[in-house]
Amino acid sequence: MMKKNVFSDEVSIVLCGEAGQGINTIELILVNILKKAGYNIFATKEYMSRIRGGSNSSIIRVSSKNVKAMVKRIDILIPLDEKAIDHLKDRITNKTLIIADREMIKKQNDYDIIDIPFSKIAKESGGILFSNVVASGVIFALFNADLKILNDYLAQKFGSKGSDIVDKNITSAGKGYEHGKKLYDEGMIKINIKNDSNIKDHYFLNGTDAVGYGALTGGCNFIASYPMSPSTGVLTFLSVHSKEMGIVVEQAEDEIAAINMGLGAWYAGARALASTSGGGFALMGEGLSLAGIIESPMVIHIAQRPGPATGLPTRTEQGDLELALYSGHGEFPRLILAPSNLEDTIGLTANAFAWADKFQIPVIILTDQYFIDTYYNIEKLNLDFKFQNYFIKTERDYKRYAFTEDGISPRGLPDYGEGLVLIDSDEHDQWGRITEDENVRNLMVEKRLKKMKLIEKDMEKPFFKGKKDYEILVIGWGSTFNVINESLEAINNDNIAFLHFSTVYPVHEIINSYLKKAKKTIIIENNATGQFAKFIKLKTGVEIEHKILKYSGIHFYVEDIVKEIKKITGGGK
């Protein structure tokens, strides 16, 4: 006998199957129609480095609240092949409801399964290809949502493919919906989740979109990059918009070309970005160092994935912070940003361009595969960005590297003004010509390094949440923001405060006072050695007491963090 399943305020739905089986399609349909139906949606995925086969999964959280993090728990699982259940066995519990086409998962029979013959239904409605649409219909019905939303969506999505295709989609969806409705009506599955019609007008972005729109907002008009998962999306995004937004886009022959092109572009007055992952960035070190000595602005997006070397190409890690911090030979200033949540990423990325230009330094944006592939509905985006150019019109005898109080020399461009703009990768004098004069060398080193002081002044404080007299301080950076935040809300211990950094270098000094107050410190990082903890120690001398680290290639689940923090704090007060 099947138990009744009631999901209140929240349900996590996982789709799992082979690459090429269309999980992405179901995911796309579901998140869109559920959002249109007014539900809060969070979705993300994990996938293998292959085009077909293997085992990939997508998780969709539907919730009464605006959830933004991944949970381990699977409430409803839709396995699309035999391997799926095995792949997820660590996450399936006896509370997991499995809805499947038994034909597709023949071998698995030690689990209770609600059998719905997706493929048979699909075949009847137009062809086996429509199985995914059938499945979408089933799930949608469980929410007792309006079938019209689904039909409208399909009509719009497939409109360009002709009415026959649209009809077949709608028929398949409808059949699936009927099956789902039956489960719902029979009370087999009950989903009680608040919806809100405002949500359908929320924004719906993933990390790639957020970085992409941020780049556009920051005036990015040049990108040369070499494809590399999970960073390629940003390159593609800018290519898609290249004509309407006026962006020079080129697939470079390698990452070395990419960064050198970026520097050439900034020199000529463009605002250039390079998008890559750790391995590609490892090849850019010399170019970064070039940006350092020629004091060129540059923006580099690193979408992190687990290393070393090829590592796990499609998975996630926060393992390249130290590389970002120390990459490039010699000593020069830089700025490292690690977006914490989708809503702030547009502004942060736009600022990356502004800061690069203002301080004439390379700015690195550190995201990761999890961040890139995650999306959720966002009510408001702050798009008030004031665009400003920092270059000047030159005069005769222009000195590109004129010594100034703060170390910043006005940056000229070729063919804008009367001056000549001279750039040299060797140590140079104020005009930009090669020199080996010891005195000039000293002044140039000091000029470059003192810019860090200015940069520090411009940086925003880290995010802080908690009461004043906390005992335990939990620290995070970058893509872990939402998962830590939700975990702490779940733990609900007001002795715990939360400090999170989206500017990871330079670290704001205020960190010292936060650390001083804490009796216990905990850092959470998606890597094996606690790279940010090390950096904090370097900056403050404080050794973070507890490290919650994960380096399996999968991002933190809310449950991971709740469990680990409780272990340390002794489980709530």
Binding site: Y203, S242, E244, G264, Y267, A268, A272, D424
Partner: protein, 287 residues
């Protein structure tokens, strides 16, 4: 003749007396001067090496970047501001060795830049190791038993890559070389000029005399538009032909002309600002 690309003051040139680089420098300055190129529109791009110091001695803009990386910089400058004249000039080690991958792929792009290589068949600045073009048997500070790798034939490779314009010159012949460089600069599309250049300090085999004795000029009847003939010429070994060896007869767009960025707007990138309203509109599509 007064040349606006000369400096008013005397400058200290870091080359050895007798080096072929001096005449290439003068030829290039004369060429751009005679072509009436606006000093403020000329950007010289180079890498690192002795040849790569050339831009330091020309009164124009320059971007003297990393060893081997002149070409990506040059293409990016040209495509960010197509109104500029961009010359990427450097050594054989720089362009064909460390920079070999950019050499290939820059040719494929057909960016409207001029690429001048000082081919002294040696690494000068690092004191005399073999370069990709060093002849088999050449003994160097590093190749103590003589070079064994097949020399890189930049002309043949460029032709094989369908380069738009391929020429070879000799630093010792001022007028002819100037003429070739002028043609290269005037050519719309990627133009390669490989220049034989004696290095008096480290290459005692490929001397001025050797280059002189082992080269000849293509005559007027030579048709540079035939790829196979050009290739055949490029393979000659006893004497190397000088002149414009190959011009691609297919009228192709340049890299810059192909860019979507310039389809609706011909302004150089630095004159543009982002259209924030358009971005908001795009974002509204994400609701």
């Amino acid at each position: 003749m007064s040349n606006k690309f000369d400096f008013e003051e005397k400058i200290d040139i870091a080359w050895c007396p007798g080096c072929g680089n001096f005449s290439i420098l003068n030829i290039v300055k004369q060429a751009v001067n005679e072509l009436n190129i606006d000093q403020k529109k000329l950007v010289m791009v180079s890498g690192i090496g002795q040849a790569a110091k050339t831009p330091q001695y020309i009164n124009a803009h320059f971007f003297n970047g990393l060893h081997g990386r002149a070409l990506p910089v040059a293409v990016a400058i040209k495509s960010s501001n197509p109104e500029l004249k961009v010359i990427a000039e450097s050594g054989d080690g720089d362009m064909y060795g460390e920079g070999g991958n950019h050499f290939i792929h820059t040719i494929r792009r057909n960016s409207d830049i001029t690429n001048i290589i000082h081919n002294n068949m040696i690494y000068g600045l690092t004191k005399g190791q073999a370069s990709p073009t060093s002849p088999v048997g050449l003994k160097t500070t590093l190749q103590v038993f003589g070079v064994t790798n097949e020399p890189f034939n930049p002309i043949a490779v460029a032709i094989a890559l369908n380069a738009d314009f391929v020429a070879r010159a000799f630093s010792g012949d001022i007028e002819q070389t100037k003429d070739i460089i002028k043609k290269a600069i005037m050519h719309k599309g990627y133009a390669l000029v490989d220049i034989f250049q004696p290095c008096v300090s480290f290459n005692k085999f490929n001397t001025f005399k050797w280059y002189k004795d082992h080269s000849y000029y293509l005559d007027e009847k030579y048709d540079p538009y035939d790829q196979v003939t050009a290739f055949q010429k490029a393979l000659e070994k006893d004497k190397f032909c000088l002149g414009v060896i190959y011009i691609n007869n297919v009228k192709r767009k340049t890299f810059e002309e192909n860019l979507a960025a310039y389809e609706n707007n011909r302004e150089p990138l630095f004159k543009r600002t982002p259209d924030l309203n358009k971005i908001k509109e795009l974002l509204d599509g994400k609701r």
